[in-house]
């Protein structure tokens, strides 16, 4: 049975949006608000805001296995479980079944996916940082990758628009490497996070501890259909208050309100149809995920927002006489320059003092130490390029502190009902350079159950990332020690691409069609009615979490596309 949501299906649309995650939601909203009749296609199931957040109100004892993944779960989510936090009973239903959705690894790649309406916008970590001028200039400056055809000023008004709509907590800091935005009030530091901020301010001139910037409502300002954070910190399950930004709570309802959106879940787009006569794309080929029925939808423009890897996979499958190696792949760069942030390196420690202090409420965000390496002449003499930021939080230990000891008896039980020591932990997130040889390809010998080729990854972190990791651990330890923390311990665990869930770069933006796939408005150079605005379009990775930038880029491209279409229509009428 074919199910369409919101609007009635049409014979032809002004626009098709592939995907409903962070960028698909934004494309849908902006195109619909500009008056374009828009078909939004999602390969996974429908997820209704609130009513489909089935675990949102469960306490640990409401889960049969107290939240742990069972052996049966692990069988189906062996790769999804590689994050360590995705496949427990509270959130496993947001992550794909690896047996149903296989992929191949020349080198280990942790491909974490959510196939449903809302995509990863439902489970994202909500960190929302602007990129700075130095991020857009980096490729040009050190010669890695290709120069971005846009600069900070091209995106600044779109960052404003996005932040105003989604709600981002934060504080104004006047840092050149992390531009300020339009902020909701921050989640204030607890007393030990405050100690860190004070201690770092007293000990370092090059770095600063700030309240993290994250997509939450933390005030009584009016957001359509959403309310402020209730401090449950169960964001990954879907928020019944709509307090954090997701497509489901925010952009899709906005698109729906225009009356211009038709949403079709269970629609696997596998090809964009290229029309040789017009030199443009005419529509998309779709397989219904449930019935396996094939169909075609037509439109004037197409927005690829399926996520970096799926979007690239669709383009690669879109072969024609003109494009034998995939749609818009004149450069040969399609599928290359795959990046993700490397992390799993940092430090933890304890704080002596504040024994009588505690907090109430589970805030969903902690602190951030913006990049401080390679940002000016003073910090520019490292043996690696680019930089990293640090993210973390402090809290008092709970009963878990007793695991791995030998104590027992009534006293132990009594002791564990009290809060334990104050602990702090932080993790560094580092930039990954764009390497041509880090790539994804399609395997036509190994098809999925819809007869479509599977993705193969051949991607690794290299010398620059490894050298940066040495510095990350060293500086994380030094930061905590200088700020007066005790028992400071560095950690550095193996980290494989994909695990940061910031995969990007496989249809990069650039000035030249010989070395890049899309232009500065995200149009495929040679097929200008196809736009790629998800992570695939990124020419570098910076070290900031990328979603806010994806949203700004998408909003900008969607408004550009809509204005162009409306102008053409006007001209045609006249």
């Amino acid at each position: 049975m074919t199910t369409y949501y919101y609007g009635k299906p049409l014979d032809r649309y002004d626009a098709i949006v592939i995907g409903t995650g962070i960028t698909g939601g934004w494309a849908a909203k902006e195109l619909c608000e500009n008056g374009l009749r828009t078909l939004v296609l999602e390969r996974g199931r429908m997820v209704n805001h609130i009513s489909d957040y089935v675990t949102a109100n469960k306490d640990p004892w409401d889960f049969k296995h107290r939240g742990l993944a069972t052996l049966e779960d692990k069988k189906h989510q062996e790769k999804q479980a590689r994050t360590g936090y995705t496949t427990g009973e509270a959130s496993k239903h947001w992550f794909v079944d690896d047996l149903k959705h296989p992929y191949n690894e020349e080198k280990r790649f942790d491909w974490i996916r959510g196939y449903h309406v809302g995509g990863k916008s439902l489970m994202w970590a909500r960190m929302s940082f602007r990129w700075s001028e130095m991020d857009f200039e980096a490729n040009k400056k050190d010669g890695h990758g290709v120069d971005w055809p846009i600069r900070y000023n091209d995106l600044a008004p779109w960052y404003d628009k996005v932040e105003e709509f989604i709600g981002v907590v934060g504080t104004t800091e006047n840092l050149p490497q992390l531009p300020d935005g339009i902020f909701e009030p921050p989640f204030e530091f607890n007393c030990v996070e405050q100690e860190l901020q004070n201690g770092v301010a007293a000990s370092f001139s090059d770095r600063r501890v700030i309240n993290t910037r994250a997509a939450h409502i933390n005030s009584d300002k009016k957001f359509e259909g959403r309310t402020r954070c209730m401090h449950r910190n169960r964001c990954i399950r879907g928020c019944p208050f709509g307090a954090y930004f997701s497509s489901n709570s925010s952009t899709l309802p906005a698109a729906e309100r225009t009356g211009n959106m038709v949403l079709r879940p269970n629609s696997i787009v596998h090809e964009i149809i290229y029309d040789d006569k017009t030199g443009k794309a005419s529509g998309v080929k779709v397989i219904d995920a449930e019935t396996k029925e094939s169909m075609i939808f037509e439109s004037d423009i197409i927005f690829c927002c399926a996520g970096a890897i799926p979007t690239t996979s669709i383009l690669m499958q879109s072969k024609s006489e003109r494009f034998p190696n995939g749609l818009g792949n004149d450069s040969g760069e399609l599928g290359h320059n795959l990046m993700d942030h490397h992390f799993k390196v940092g430090a933890s420690a304890t704080w002596h003092g504040h024994e009588d202090d505690y907090y109430k409420g589970r805030k969903p965000a902690g602190f951030y130490i913006p990049r401080f390496q390679n940002i000016d002449n003073k910090s520019d003499e490292k043996d690696f390029l680019r930089g990293y930021g640090m993210q973390g939080g402090a809290s008092r230990e709970n009963w878990e502190r007793a695991v791995g000891e030998l104590s027992f008896g009534a006293e132990l039980k009594e002791e564990l009902t009290k809060p334990g020591e104050w602990r702090i932990g932080m993790t560094c997130f580092g930039e990954c350079l764009p390497y041509h040889e880090n790539q994804m390809t399609l395997n036509y010998d190994k098809l999925d159950e819809w007869g479509l080729p599977t993705v193969t990854f051949d991607c690794e972190y290299k010398e620059n990332e490894m050298k940066m990791r040495d510095d990350m651990e060293k500086e994380a330890v030094a930061t905590l020690k200088a700020a007066g923390f005790k028992n400071v311990k560095g950690h550095r665990n193996p980290c494989f691409p994909g695990n940061g869930i910031h995969e990007m770069g496989t249809a990069r933006m650039g000035k030249d069609s010989k070395t890049s796939v899309v232009n500065k408005y995200n149009q495929i150079h040679s097929v200008t009615n196809v736009y790629v605005t998800d992570g695939a379009c990124m020419a570098s990775s910076a070290c900031q979490n990328p979603s806010l930038t994806y949203m700004a880029i998408t909003a900008r491209a969607a408004n550009f596309a809509a204005k162009k279409i409306l102008k053409n229509k006007k001209t045609a009428k006249a």
Binding site: W61, L71, K74, F187, Y359, L406, F408, T417
Partner: protein, 209 residues
């Protein structure tokens, strides 16, 4: 009611989906009863041993004990559904070696052991100086093939006992009774207070969530 039957019937009815609170309500309404409890993963003898041990590890005092929140059932369920084959086998081997050790120490079957016997034997393994504790944890990190023959009994017994202890603590503090009534509990905190006096905020208790 035999809660195993109750649970089994209910999970059959729900097709083994995530248990709804009402189902767990049934699980939590019946206190562990050795006479009627038949473990699903453990043997009846191992079930008896685990029950005795958790009662020593987290005894009932002014606060509820392990048996008040069905920890033996919880451990049985974890080993049935959550732990992998390797962990299952290590646990079972440990239980077997412990059972043998118990018989040789007390000259009777472990299933005839009293609470006093179990307290005594647990003390010999857990009431040890800090530096010896460290050597125990070092031993537990090793592969069995790297452990000398005369250390193997120790390895198996500690594998078993530390797992029972850790699972007891996990199950106890994530149970409804402890989570809602003993620890400080706010399902929806609404407000956030970044820093305040612990006694005023929670009466000195840790937050359960």
């Amino acid at each position: 009611m035999d809660r195993r039957t109750a649970l089994k019937n209910l999970t059959l009815a729900t097709g083994y989906t995530i248990a709804a609170p009402s189902i767990l309500g049934v699980l939590q309404s019946c206190k562990t009863d050795t006479l009627t409890w038949i473990p699903e993963f453990l043997s009846p003898a191992q079930g008896f041993i685990v029950k005795q041990l958790v009662d020593v590890i987290l005894p009932t005092s002014s606060l509820p004990g392990a048996l008040d929140v069905n920890i033996p059932e919880f451990i049985d369920l974890m080993y049935k559904d959550v732990f992998d084959e390797n962990e299952k086998q290590k646990f079972l081997k440990g239980a077997e070696v412990f059972e043998t050790k118990f018989s040789s120490v007390f000259n009777k079957k472990a299933t005839k052991g009293t609470k006093e016997n179990y307290t005594d034997i647990l003390k010999t393994y857990f009431d040890i100086p800090k530096e010896k504790q460290q050597s125990v944890f070092n031993l537990l990190k090793k592969n069995i093939s790297d452990i000398s023959e005369n250390n193997r009994e120790k390895y198996h017994i500690y594998t078993f006992l530390t797992s029972v202890r850790d699972q007891s603590i996990f199950g106890y503090f994530t149970s409804q009774k402890i989570g809602e009534d003993v620890l400080a509990y706010e399902s929806i905190p609404i407000d956030y207070i970044p820093c305040g006096n612990m006694d005023e905020l929670t009466n000195g208790r840790a937050w359960s969530l």
